[in-house]
């Protein structure tokens, strides 16, 4: 289980990106993190995966623990060996490597040959198109296929917890639906998922639990189903405008979210 406790993160010692976030990702669940640009979603993932330092970020206080291990100041490669793998935002597949080499790169942290072979079979079973295109360069795949490759590449390390950073970014609605199904399937096969998304419809559809981040703080949290019914989420993330009298659902809410207007 991933436990985050009162986490404060700053960039360059001045910019506060996270201001006391606490959350949990229980084993075997899908947890969604929603929030608009600048809410701290990516910073949260960087802290977990250990790439914060590369961006000159620093954990000021609080902790991130996975089982018995303390994360936050580890090397990203060590984090992968603990069983946490992140699919980066914007896919970041290796465009000059072939599809197969991309998958090999994903399995680098996995020393066990048999486990690697099993992981590859699983990836090809889940994404048959990757097997068809295994000798093609990654850059030649379509956006949706690249996202499949990015997820498949991460699965090559046989993670226990998969971190997904905006997998729907820049994809067609039909493909986003497929990504949702893929996440559900990965979870069914026993991998916990932390899903950071702006597309609330897809995220809340697939998640068990959800958190809403607002300027570095958790503003709402609860089960995904309940959250999807709340007025704020409806209004701000699901696009249903309701001018009816506000009805709060029974969800812990610290403050009222305001619509961003410019």
């Amino acid at each position: 289980m991933l436990t985050i406790d009162a986490l404060h993160v700053t960039y360059g010692g001045a910019v506060q990106a996270l201001r006391g976030i606490s959350m949990e990702v229980p084993d075997g669940k899908v947890v969604a993190v929603l929030g608009s640009n600048g809410a701290g979603k990516t910073t949260l993932l960087r802290t977990i995966s250990g790439t914060l330092r590369l961006h000159r970020g620093k954990v000021e206080s609080g902790s991130v623990r996975y089982g018995d291990s303390v994360l936050g100041n580890r090397d990203p490669a060590q984090t992968v060996r603990l069983g946490l793998v992140q699919v980066p935002e914007g896919r970041h597949i290796f465009g000059r490597l072939t599809v197969e080499e991309n998958l090999r790169a994903g399995g680098m942290g996995n020393k066990d040959k048999a486990a690697k072979a099993r992981a590859r079979d699983r990836v090809y079973e889940m994404f048959p198109v990757l097997e068809e295109r295994s000798a093609q360069r990654g850059a030649l795949l379509s956006g949706g296929e690249q996202q499949m490759l990015a997820i498949g590449r991460a699965l090559m390390a046989s993670p226990q917890l998969l971190l997904l950073d905006e997998p729907s970014l820049g994809l067609a609605p039909r493909i986003i639906g497929q990504i949702g199904e893929v996440i559900a399937e990965i979870n069914r096969q026993g991998t916990s998922v932390l899903l950071v998304e702006q597309n609330a419809t897809m995220a809340l559809g697939v998640a068990d639990l959800a958190y809403v981040l607002d300027v570095g703080e958790v503003s709402l949290s609860g089960s995904a189903k309940e959250l999807a019914r709340t007025d704020e989420v409806q209004r701000l993330y699901l696009g249903h405008d309701s001018d009816e009298p506000r009805q709060r659902a029974g969800v812990a809410s610290g403050k009222t979210l305001s619509r961003w207007t410019a």
């Binding site: 992140q86 680098m108 942290g109 390390a157």
Partner: protein, 296 residues
């Protein structure tokens, strides 16, 4: 015609040696994002240690020890300096490597002095004739060894885990780290390989027709820089082509010196740089270099 063939053969063998040095230069750039100016002194270190050790422990053990020593020196430079400065601007890192180069070079020149150290190659200074075309045995063996090493390198780069890790982290370091690839290890390995390749090149570069190890061997290594740069700093294939081009250009310019006399004596020594400038004027990122690199 005989002269042409002879120059061609000598140019190719010289070019293969430049290609070995340039390959090391390129993989260091790919793995550590450093333009490493330490290669000249690493090469001299390889030549010097082989020459000094072969008096005591014999030729072959000395070669192995010299290659290992140079690889170890490259590894130490990476661990102690480069790895700690990860993420620093490319320019600062390049200047740091110039500093390291000067320190190492000064010490080596102090030790060598004005002597010319002899490396007792078992094949000596004999030359080999195919018909009328002559080439020193040293250069012939050099071509064969360099060819084998280059093929082995490209196979490893294409198929081995090291190669995949290396290419992945060269393309996108942060993502490679997220996938569990240890960037520090990839970078250290690149330096070790580069050091070893430089030492092997040194072994042959100080043999016939060159008289032996003197401080001048350093300038030989400098000619591998234009080879790497004109091929495109981030392209291993480019390093190979660049190395051969520079070797051929140098050999022909030196061989046809009499016809080129209007350019002045010793034109062969500057021709690598002339070729490099000519190529860069047409293709600023080198023959096979990635375009994006020009924005760094």
């Amino acid at each position: 015609m005989t002269q042409f063939l002879s120059l061609l053969l000598n140019g190719l063998s010289l070019g293969a040696l430049y290609a070995l040095i340039a390959l090391g230069f390129v993989i260091i750039f790919k793995a550590s994002e450093v333009v490493s100016f330490t290669h000249g002194s690493l090469l001299l270190l390889g030549a010097y240690s082989i020459a000094r050790l072969s008096d005591r422990i014999g030729f072959l053990p000395a070669v192995l020890a010299g290659v290992a020593l140079t690889a170890a020196a490259a590894f130490v430079i990476e661990r102690v300096v480069i790895n700690r400065l990860r993420g620093a601007p490319v320019i600062s890192l390049a200047i740091v490597t110039i500093g390291i180069d000067i320190i190492l070079l000064t010490e080596l020149i102090r030790r060598i002095g004005s002597d010319i150290l002899n490396v007792p190659h078992p094949w000596g200074g004999k030359s080999f004739r195919i018909g009328d075309v002559g080439i020193s045995q040293n250069r012939l063996i050099a071509t064969a060894v360099a060819g084998v090493l280059i093929v082995a390198f490209f196979l490893a780069f294409k198929y081995s885990s090291w190669g995949v890790a290396m290419r992945a982290s060269a393309e996108d370091g942060e993502t490679a780290a997220l996938m569990g690839i240890r960037l520090g290890r990839v970078s250290a390995l690149a330096w070790i390989v580069a050091g070893a390749l430089a030492a092997v090149a040194a072994l042959f570069l100080v043999g016939a027709p060159t008289p032996g190890v003197s401080a001048a061997a350093y300038t030989v290594a400098l000619r591998a820089f234009p080879a790497a740069i004109l091929g495109g700093l981030d392209s291993t294939g480019g390093a190979l082509v660049g190395g051969l081009l520079i070797g051929l250009a140098e050999s022909f310019a030196a061989g046809y010196q009499d016809q080129l006399l209007f350019l002045g004596r010793g034109f062969g020594d500057v021709v690598p740089y002339v070729v490099m400038i000519a190529v860069l004027l047409v293709r600023p990122s080198g023959l096979f270099g990635t375009k994006e690199l020009t924005r760094v």
